[in-house]
């Protein structure tokens, strides 16, 4: 009887892991993806939608078209995982059983966790990005604050990219001299990676982008138009853009499989749940203090697929995750740099250039026919 592999979540990690497992195991396994919407969203595009550089249409595809035809797709909400019985309960259909489970349910945005969040803007959902785009089109000048209201969050460079691209956007609209742009950084510099921070700080200085350090947003007062940090400082704004708080998926929390934030305790090399060896986690879903990004999921998926294939065949797993991540960082003015690193090698970002900006653009455009199918590694 073929092994039953169930993948929860049809994002980058879940889709790629399912396709690789199906390809590797063929008739030795059935591979089923359970996804709550059946639509695959290319989330790095939200930034470009918010800043009026891209149409929302290219960001969504039918998940079915991204999966190998041998992979079954179930569009339903997983509500409970029972690791003892090795089953997953679904909201609208009967329970499904697994021999191996890949949890790739990603992050859940919980704006309500910030007191006063209300109508504060963000670009962490397609709706949010479109609403921010409309707000920016109406904007005629004033104080813009960009901050981080929860950790961890997806795509650590995003706030830096946003302020630098926003600076460019306001200049093109001819209202930069009527506006101030300030990044409220959770850290004591613009960006977590010191070498990258040193690259972007001169751009902040040159462009007149402000930086407030050690400002972790805790509450918003929409009436007074102020934002207060957990470090105890308050700042005023006319337009506030926040990275909203994230949590792990509701199904992980409902099943008691996550930590205090709903993230799955995961081995940093094998990507298995630390207590349940038949459960694997990848991408945003894990509790690893590593980037929550499509890139991380992309590089983890082959490890998960390879290790499950070894278990199915009764052979010793060979592949382990070495912490590989690669991402781009837009620095405004049509330039970007790149960050490549793993557990053993810290990133050494190159000087921002047009080359990396175009590399990111090509990657964004080619995503649909490369990443989910495992054509780039």
């Amino acid at each position: 009887m073929p092994a039953r592999v169930v993948v929860l979540g049809g994002g980058v990690g879940g889709t790629l892991a399912a396709n690789l497992l199906s390809k590797e195991l063929g008739k030795e396994a059935t591979v089923t993806v359970v996804d709550s919407t059946g639509m695959h969203l290319y989330q790095p595009g939200f930034l470009y939608v918010a800043l009026d550089q891209a149409n929302a249409l290219w960001l969504a595809r039918d998940e079915r078209t991204l999966l190998r035809k041998q992979v079954e797709l179930v569009v339903d909400q997983a509500t409970k995982i029972d690791p003892g019985a090795q089953t997953v309960s679904l909201a609208h259909a009967s329970t499904i059983s697994y021999d191996y489970l890949v949890v790739a349910t990603g992050s859940r945005i919980v704006r309500e966790a910030v007191p006063g969040y209300g109508d504060t803007h963000d670009f962490y959902s397609l709706d949010g990005a479109q609403r921010l785009r409309e707000e920016l089109r109406r904007f005629t000048g004033g104080r813009i604050l960009v901050g981080v209201a929860g950790i961890p969050y997806k795509c650590p460079p995003a706030p830096v990219e946003f302020v630098l691209m926003l600076d460019e956007y306001l200049r093109k609209r001819g209202i930069r001299d009527k506006s101030s742009v300030t990044l409220l950084s959770p850290l004591n510099r613009a960006f977590t990676i010191e070498s990258a921070s040193k690259l972007v700080q001169p751009i902040f200085d040159r462009q007149g982008v402000g930086l407030s350090t050690f400002f972790n947003v805790e509450t918003v007062d929409a009436e007074q138009r102020t934002v207060t940090s957990l470090e105890g400082e308050t700042a005023g704004y006319d337009l506030l853009v926040l990275v909203p708080p994230h949590r792990g998926a509701a199904v992980v929390e409902a099943s008691g499989l996550g930590d205090a934030g709903g993230w799955i305790p995961t081995d940093r090399n094998t990507l298995q749940h630390t207590q349940h060896e038949r459960i694997f986690a990848l991408g945003d879903t894990t509790d690893l203090p590593i980037s929550k990004s499509g890139s991380t999921a992309h590089f983890e998926a082959p490890v998960v697929a390879s290790r499950i294939a070894s278990f199915v065949r009764g052979t010793a797993p060979k592949n382990a995750y070495g912490g590989r991540v690669m991402c781009f960082l837009e620095t405004g003015g049509g330039r970007a740099t790149s960050l490549r690193f793993d557990y053993a090698h810290p990133p050494i970002p190159p000087k921002p250039s047009r080359l990396w900006h175009w590399a990111k653009w090509i990657f964004n455009r080619a995503y649909w026919v490369t990443v989910p199918q495992g054509r780039v590694g």
């Binding site: 004591n188 990676i193 010191e194 972790n216 470090e231 690893l288 203090p289 960050l339 793993d342």
Partner: protein, 81 residues
């Protein structure tokens, strides 16, 4: 005098994890935690030796101790408010 090691509420092994990095992982854990919780952060990033104590001082938490090891350091931090 006897020294009693505090019970660790959560340990964060951020060795080799450049992004988002050890300090952001600590801030995230403290945001989720309760007053009195004790966190252990293991970092191989040289910058942590200044960054982590600087944030703890600013945010008014307590740095219980720092233990140097071969190529990494362990920071023990108590959520104080």
């Amino acid at each position: 005098m006897t020294l009693t090691a505090p019970a660790i509420t959560k340990s964060i092994d951020a060795r080799g994890m450049a992004c988002p990095g050890p300090l952001l992982a600590l801030i995230g854990a403290i945001r989720q935690g309760q007053v009195g919780d004790v966190y252990e952060v293991i970092s191989s990033d040289a910058g942590s030796k200044t960054d982590i104590p600087a944030w703890i001082a600013k945010a008014k938490h307590e740095l219980v101790t720092v233990m140097e090891d071969d190529g990494f350091a362990r920071f023990i931090v108590r959520k104080a408010r």
